[in-house]
């Protein structure tokens, strides 16, 4: 399935699909994963992102995403000022991450109560891949409505989640389960064919054994 609007598009703020548009998408996903009021954003650039982020506006792009902007939002170039007005402390630094794509960023969002870290890469065009959340290995493309769920690692848990989704006629496109240690807790990434509303999210949050449910709406160009 491909559209001519992938060739004559996307409509985006320049200068680079990978270093600007892709970076906006990564920041945007981090915002949805954190889902609380952001007070502080630590942005660590790796590889090509580290060496060219100023010229490509990758810094402004990531912050724009964290503010919830989409890749075609003309406020992207003013995102650093807008973040400041909103009282968000922003820090940029360069890091060397292991075995990752050259265009990779580690984003740590926090407030007084909590913090979340996310590692994601811009993998070509404006396609992205989130590879890590809070030290859990994940694989999120951001193209489909996505759920990130932390649950107890015990038999039947995944079945409970999928049957709830099924009861709302939500078809699962892809599902991946990762765990740090057998029998403790596991992290699921579920990509769906349809959007999820707040009612369904609350249903999931009330399931015994699920400690966290986050919803990442897709960025559609």
């Amino acid at each position: 399935m491909s559209s001519i609007f992938d060739v004559m598009g996307p409509v985006m703020v320049g200068p680079s699909s990978s270093h600007t548009a892709g970076a906006v998408k990564l920041g945007r996903i981090a915002r949805f994963i954190f889902s609380d009021t952001i007070k502080k954003a630590e942005i660590n650039f790796h590889g090509s992102f580290a060496s060219t982020y100023k010229g490509h506006g990758t810094d402004k792009a990531v912050i724009a995403g964290i503010l919830g902007f989409k890749p075609d939002d003309e406020r992207i170039k003013n995102s650093l000022e807008i973040a400041k007005e909103k009282g968000i402390e922003v820090n940029f630094s360069e890091v060397q991450l292991r075995d990752v794509h050259p265009n990779t960023v580690k984003i740590v969002l926090s407030n007084e109560e909590e913090s979340v870290s996310m590692v994601g890469s811009s993998i070509g065009g404006s396609d992205i891949k989130v590879i890590e959340i809070d030290n859990y290995e994940v694989n999120i493309s951001g193209k489909l409505p996505t759920l990130w769920i932390i649950h107890k690692d015990r038999p039947g848990m995944v079945g409970v989640i999928t049957s709830v989704l099924g009861s709302y006629n939500l078809n699962i496109a892809h599902m991946q389960d990762f765990r740090k240690k057998k029998g403790t807790i596991a992290s699921s990434i579920i990509e769906l064919d349809h959007a999820v509303d707040e009612y369904i999210l609350n249903h999931l949050r009330n399931i015994d054994g699920l400690s966290l449910v986050r919803y990442i709406p897709p960025v559609v160009n």
């Binding site: 985006m12 320049g14 200068p15 003309e74």
Partner: protein, 287 residues
């Protein structure tokens, strides 16, 4: 209305006595399961973004964040050039305008890519003005450009990192040339010839941007590639053909891209990026 090569696209148009754009529109309707109105509306919106970028770029005098580009479209637009106020001046101005908007974090249509986003709108707007085409006709020509680009994206690549600049500005110029031919009333075979002629003559073009930024040589190269498209369109309309068919030119582009060293594929490690001045600029920007 399926096509996977330029030959198939052109044959479908000829056999059905339709334009290339019509085949591309029908194929998009089938593929996306959207209505004709929705597909046309989306291209209309795309065209509006293109027009706004050209206008903004022509009037803009500020530099990009890096300071490497900005103000040249305004300079060109106000220069009483020695060629006279002709279509070549228009295309180069419009193409540079969009590219400057892109470099300064303005809104553009990445078609086929952000780095080559100035070429297609410049050529279609300038040709449209010359022949008094209305917006609907230009929008149709944008489908022609898209269909040609679609074949390349499936068969080869549109990424400088994979194929060098021939895959970005080269293909952008070829798409623009083919679309300009249809806009000017040329036959489907002429569309393919214009595409082949434009791409053939930009084969081997490397991607060696200074400091890794989409500015030097990219911004001005959009201007050159747009005027190159006009030359190809003019030849094709005069029934000058390409000895090597369009699909084979795309194959040659892939082969050349594979043979091209990594240092010349968007890594900023060779060519202009590795010149004395290029390296000095990179060093200054890194501070």
């Amino acid at each position: 209305m399926e096509y996977s090569t330029i030959e198939e696209l052109i044959n479908l148009a000829s056999e059905n006595e339709m334009t290339v754009s019509e085949i591309v529109i029908q194929s998009e309707i089938e593929e996306s399961e959207k209505s004709r109105d929705e597909v046309l509306k989306r291209m209309r919106e795309t065209f509006e973004v293109m027009k706004e970028a050209v206008e903004e770029g022509k009037n803009k005098q500020e530099k990009s964040p890096s300071g490497l580009s900005g103000g040249d479209a305004h300079r060109l637009s106000n220069f009483d050039d020695f060629l006279g106020d002709n279509i070549y001046k228009k295309v180069m101005t419009y193409a540079v305008a969009t590219s400057e908007v892109n470099a300064s974090m303005g809104k553009i249509v990445a078609g086929p890519t952000a780095g080559s986003s100035g070429i297609v709108p410049a050529v279609l707007l300038a040709v449209g003005e010359k022949i008094n085409a209305d917006d609907e006709e230009i929008i149709k020509a944008l489908f022609t450009a898209s269909g040609l680009g679609m074949v390349v994206s499936k068969k080869a690549t549109l990424a400088g990192a994979a194929g060098g600049c021939q895959a970005e500005c080269g293909v952008g110029s070829a798409m623009a040339a083919g679309a300009a031919v249809e806009l000017a009333g040329g036959k489907p075979e002429m569309v393919a010839n214009a595409f082949a002629l434009a791409l053939k003559n930009l084969l081997g073009l490397v991607c060696d941007p200074v400091a890794g930024l989409v500015e030097v040589p990219c911004v001005k190269r959009n201007g050159f590639s747009a005027s190159h498209a006009l030359t190809a369109a003019n030849m094709a309309l005069a029934e000058v053909g390409s000895v090597i068919p369009a699909d084979e030119v795309v194959e040659a582009m892939t082969q050349i891209g594979n043979l091209m060293p990594g240092s010349l594929k968007e890594t900023a490690m060779g060519g202009l990026a590795a010149t004395e001045t290029g390296l000095k600029i990179a060093e200054e920007l890194d501070e």
